[in-house]
Amino acid sequence: MDNHLSLEESRQKLTQIENDLIRPLKSHNGFEMWVLFLLLLLILGFYAYYLQLRDGLGVTALRDYVQWGMYISNFVFFVATSLIGMLITSVLGLLRIPWITPLTRIAETIALAFAMFAGIVIIIDMGRPDRFPYLFLHGRLQSPILWDVTVVTTYVIISMLLLLIPMIPDAAILRRRMTDAPKWQQAIYKFLSANWIAVPEQYALIKKSIRVLAILIIPTALAIHTVTSWLFASTLRVGWDSTIFGPYFVSGAFVSGVAVVIIAMYFFRNNYKLHNYITDAHFNRMGQLLVLMCFIYLYFNLNEYFVPAYKMRKAEGHHLEALFTGNWAGIFWATQLGGLLIPMLLLIFKPFRKPLPAFIISVFVLVGAWFKRLLIVVPTQQHPYLPIQNVPENFITYKPTGVEIMLTILPMVGVLIVITIIAKLFPIVPIWETAHEQGVDESVIK
């Protein structure tokens, strides 16, 4: 903004940015293979769901003791990851952190996709998905599930607005540029551009809307993950009966969210050739952000595990022994060290915040984040107050079945499909905000 350009220079600059950011929408290099791959997984997933509907939830490894498993872990993971929209767009945006501009749309796309499919994950876990409308017909407000449904829906709506409203000027640009696109695609651009003519009143309106939404989404995002944590914390079960579950979950959410954004940044930068827009400096900043988030999460982990372990209360002791030295120890230490502590320590050093190392570390963090949710959900149920007796062996152990794994992957495929569609229809780096930042005169952005 400080290096304000003349109108002519502005037009040239804008055209150059447009060319760079719109080019990926037109090239289909490898796109068909990617879509084919996703569709294949989608078909496999639907087949798995058909089997589950036909034979019952017994096709999973879930039984009367471990009765929430990968599906619920997946749900927690999805809600967690979706929180990143709030962190990038709102918290950093409202603090006027300048470097986030090219990352906001990536973050919002991820937030929307994960939040949308969180609801689908829950339906996959339901014994009677046909009765889903009962949640609205017979809902009881004292159940945390109702709170979850309410806030997740609200979050999806606000996230969608936070994606679409900043899209208005870009949609106008796309309408002008994508004249050879199919009719339906042009109709979408026309609709989303909302008669954008780049007058100051429109800018004022759009900026004010974004600001209001950015403020609204903070309590909503905190609410969705806090309420999700209460699905566990509101019970009397060892390992879940914890007062810090809200902030513990929220801090963990930012870890997986930042990791997934770094992964997406790396992917778009290389495949969409956006090296001039998503720069090394962005990876550096996001790497620093991940260190901070890992540190906060580590602090909550220390509280969550060390304090009960110091006391070793009877039932809690069995649970913690299983995690520290028992049958969960492998996953537990791999997640805590390989998915949290070591990534954090590495990212403290600048060379590891270069794009490739940051990407690899983020993959470890993300996989660790998924397994961490499994560690929160499953082991608790293997240690009830009363002993597990007179039941078949598979009621005690939990070994996920193929159908269950497919149905865990299915919503992830859904997320990738949504991200793919959005990134194929719209520039993943916002054109108008980038142009604006580079001093392009506002009146030409249309």
């Binding site: 339901m126 019970t235 069995h318």
Partner: protein, 320 residues
């Protein structure tokens, strides 16, 4: 079965025989109850003092007399049986406050209670509404058998979390499940600290055979795939004035069952009646994990002066 009937006063037997004789809606008690309501209201209008009278129990538990000539058969089509079963099932039995006492000194793991329960509720062998556990509280304490039904808590964690009112607490203290409402989210299973709840992971046992049976919320049959089940205190038997399935099938006198309002419990094996408060007082009765604040309705008498040998050490499985 009449001799172990601590709940309903005399006249009850006569009512049932009479209805059987008339052949009203064979075997379905609900029709009888609804018929009684109909007839009772009709009787109020006509005030016909003549003719032989019969006593019938109305749906709300009132014992009334009506002339025999006024009784009419009600066709199945006229009456939505499931709706009526739901209505009375959700309401519960007025004036009652059911309570169970389990004498741990008497249990020798005969497992007859489990068999009777699983038969009545159409359960698979690995599905328990009641399960007898081998307990050992600490390293040097003696092991003992502990039958574990649902505790029908007065502050039920399961009912709190249900999002659709599929599990509910009735006025007589029983916590029931409506498997026509249950969405299968299993939050209640997660919330129950006593592992009392089970889920129908597959098509229930013999579901083909029972598929046309009207759903009775007090018996939770027919069981339904994708929904919850658990101990119901045999609410269907209580309505008929009988003791629960497990209680009446125990050969060892482990179970006492009754009404806290009357302060009377009856032993399912010996049919002996006792004051509930006295039984608890004399024997040091307690509830399990009461520190959780769940307020269970099932009391245990400690396993002292046992008449059977304790479970062998080698059979004890650990808490893990």
């Amino acid at each position: 079965m009449e001799e172990n009937n601590p709940i309903i006063e005399s006249g009850d037997e006569g009512r049932r025989n009479f209805l059987k004789k008339l052949g009203i809606f064979a075997g379905v008690g609900v029709a009888a109850a609804a018929g009684a309501v109909y007839v009772a209201s009709d009787y109020e209008e006509k005030k016909n003092p003549e003719g032989k009278k019969v006593r019938v129990l109305t749906a709300d538990g009132q014992l009334v007399e009506v002339p025999e000539s006024e009784l009419q058969k009600i066709e199945q089509e006229e009456l939505d049986i499931e709706d009526e079963l739901q209505r009375r099932g959700r309401e519960g039995i007025a004036g009652k406050s059911w309570v169970m006492v389990i004498d741990l000194a008497k249990c020798r793991n005969a497992r007859m209670c489990i068999a009777a329960c699983q038969a009545a509720h159409q359960l698979r062998p690995e599905q328990y509404h009641i399960n007898t556990l081998v307990m050992k509280d600490s390293e040097h304490s003696a092991p003992y058998y502990m039958p574990k039904p649902c505790y029908h808590c007065d502050n039920p964690p399961c009912v709190k979390v249900c999002p659709v009112n599929a599990t509910f607490k009735r006025q007589d203290g029983i916590v029931l499940i409506d498997n026509l409402r249950c969405i299968g989210c299993r939050f209640c299973v997660a919330a129950c600290p006593y592992s009392a709840r089970i889920f129908n992971w597959f098509e229930p046992r013999d579901s083909e055979k029972y598929k046309d049976q009207p759903y009775d919320v007090e018996l939770n049959v027919p069981q339904k795939k994708g929904t919850i089940s658990k101990c119901l205190f045999s609410a269907d038997r209580l309505r008929k004035g009988e003791l629960p399935y497990c209680v009446s099938s125990c050969p060892n006198g482990v179970y006492w069952f009754g009404d806290m309002n009357e302060d009377v419990v009856v032993n399912g094996t010996t049919k002996e009646a006792a004051r509930f408060s006295q039984l608890i007082k004399d024997n040091g009765g307690y509830t399990y994990l009461e520190e959780l604040g769940t307020k269970p309705r099932v009391y245990y008498l400690p396993p002292k002066n046992r008449i059977f040998p304790a479970p062998g050490e080698e059979q004890v499985s650990s808490h893990s």
